[in-house]
Symmetry: C2
Subunit: 372 residues, 2 copies
């Protein structure tokens, strides 16, 4: 019973053995071999969004949230004013870190089960011309809802507002094309749809705004402009890089390319999501979101109405069967979440559904039907 | 010729295969198994400094510098005033990040080849009562000099000043006992003397000051108080942890304990340093520092005076022989550095000296004698 459980979580997620094996070597961070890995990762990440002409790629130590904070700290001037159309937990987090660093932020509460409306955002921008930037969560992992990046980016461009995109859980799977969608900063991380291990984030910064970012950040560690300038000059990271995490990401990107890139990855995740949702529906479970707004990244399900249901027991039962589920993140409704991403396919999703069915049976719950 | 080079660098450094093998598994960050690893690492780190009664241990994503910045941001109030007795590159970095975040910092330049004087520091503290905190680099990796932590801590305690210690390259090897030396915060990282892989830091915070730290940090990601409160409540990290890096650190700590803990590790590094310095001296090389102030962590050598010497060529020649050296970090004198830490012993140090001898011969340099 030593098989590792499959992580149905939105990062850390299940990675291939090949990715993990890349970590069995130590690298000198100053050495040319490691500098070459950094350069190659930066170039290949730019290629994924067709951003080589318009953007630079700045990697950063830490979790994805560190990179979100760094993007806001670097891109938004100290007297800037950020708008967050808030439809979930990661929107709230982005607003909080913006306010904490002393930047003004206006937060507009939205329904969590629906995408943000670009039209509604436009009204807000027109009503308050002091707003300089919009922060947008592409796929709100709190629920799994997909926000309309192209439409929102078009509004920002037309009105001359900066746009910072948290694409943490969408980058590498959902379409993002820097030639068609204008963003000042776009943030993602190693341990999400690229299927690397967690430990670093990265930010695409638009070349046209780069010089203007100097001196914005009050944090040394999170100053992406400084990190960029140093890296361009030396090829090195300013401070000790997570060497093993970076080489694992490099190996993961190679497999991403071999699989057929973003289109193939999205196709696999879409298939994973369909198998999951169909299988769970057959057990009576109902997803929180309408199918049209559901990104194939993570699915929020209503908890079963049956009185014997308790998330902790359900989680342990599924874990005993080899699958790690994810708790819900909503305050109003009881839910749980199941990720569709990672080095897994339709087989694993079918087995996951079977494990859920078994777990319900063990708990004496006839089906997954929610209340109401 | 596929043997991995040995890293004679102050982190990332050479780790054991056993440490790296711990990374061949994916972990759910929310799962109880991972929560147990986090708890165990925190406890065992506290044990190393005998700090369980007096301190808490807060891990943080990112490089060691992230944790230094987080310690200052969390411990020093916004109207605080920091004193840095500056005898090296890491002192300057600590002062810079303090000023950047808007805290007042007074920097007193000191000779780089000598330890900071506790008496001189005391004079400065008495002359300016507005100073609230001292930031001290225990082992200045810029040169390798050891600063007098116990003496400086005693002065800070007597005068009622807070003390933040950057023990990045000393923790786990040089003696630090929280029962005898009072510090408000002490910072180290995974990829140094504990011989883990890089990707996370950690900070010991004194329990007595913990409550007073709430709300100090203007950075969400670097708020160690917030990280601590959340971790105490849930056992989890606030944001995605570097799961593979943490389990590698846990495995590295187990080997540290098996080796005989801090005392045994210091003995091995001291032996490494002696073999290195003696071997290099036989080749004519001269260390920058007097032996009495040289920490057995990293040794700075004067560059050879011979006109054929060029660091880049010397580095490549040593690398071709399997050893990664480290550049100097002084502006006035030409130097290079050689680390004594990592999963290496006297054999590797002897081989390194032999590789240096070969490299000199290849470059047509008769010996390592410096100018003057």
């Amino acid at each position: 019973m030593d098989r590792d459980p499959i992580l149905l979580t939105p990062g850390p997620l299940t990675t291939t053995l090949r990715t993990k094996l890349a970590m069995l070597k130590d690298w000198g961070s100053w050495d040319t071999d490691f500098i070459a890995v950094t350069a190659s990762v930066r170039q290949r990440l730019l290629d994924i969004v067709h951003g080589a002409d318009s953007h630079v790629l700045v990697p950063l130590q830490g979790s994805g949230t560190f990179s979100v904070e760094a993007a806001v700290a670097t891109v938004v001037p100290r007297d800037g004013h950020v708008l967050v159309m808030d439809n979930g937990a990661y929107c709230k987090r982005a607003a909080r870190l913006t306010q904490l660093m002393g930047r003004r932020a206006t937060v507009v509460p939205q329904a969590e089960e629906e995408p943000v409306s670009a039209g509604e955002m436009e009204k807000r921008l027109l009503a308050d011309p002091s707003i300089t930037h919009v922060v947008l969560i592409h796929c709100e992992t709190g629920t799994g809802v997909l926000n309309p990046l192209p439409e929102m980016a078009a509004v920002c461009q037309r009105l001359g507002k900066g746009l910072i995109v948290d694409a943490m859980s969408s980058f590498g799977a959902l379409p993002i094309d820097a030639r068609e969608v204008r963003f000042d900063a776009l943030v993602a991380a190693s341990g999400k749809c690229l299927e690397g291990v967690p430990g670093m984030g990265f930010v695409f910064l638009r070349k046209a705004i780069l010089d203007g970012c100097a001196g914005n950040s009050q944090s040394l560690a999170m100053d992406l402009h400084d990190q960029h300038v140093y890296m361009e000059k030396t090829g090195q990271w300013r401070f000790t890089p997570p060497t093993h995490v970076l080489v694992a990401l490099s190996e993961a990107i190679t497999q991403f390319e071999e699989e057929g890139g973003r289109v193939a990855r999205l196709a696999r995740y879409t298939d994973n999501c369909r198998v999951l949702v169909d299988g769970m529906a057959a057990l009576g479970f109902r997803p929180l979101l309408r199918p049209e707004v559901q990104a194939p990244i993570i699915v929020t399900f209503h908890a079963p109405a049956h009185p014997a249901y308790e998330f902790r027991r359900f989680y342990e039962a599924a874990k005993a069967r080899g699958f790690i589920l994810y708790p819900g993140k909503l305050t109003q409704v009881e839910t749980f979440r199941v990720g569709c991403i990672g080095a897994i396919g339709a087989n694993e999703m079918r087995q996951a559904v079977a494990a859920v069915a078994d777990s319900l049976a063990e708990m004496g719950i006839p089906d997954g039907r929610p209340a109401g």
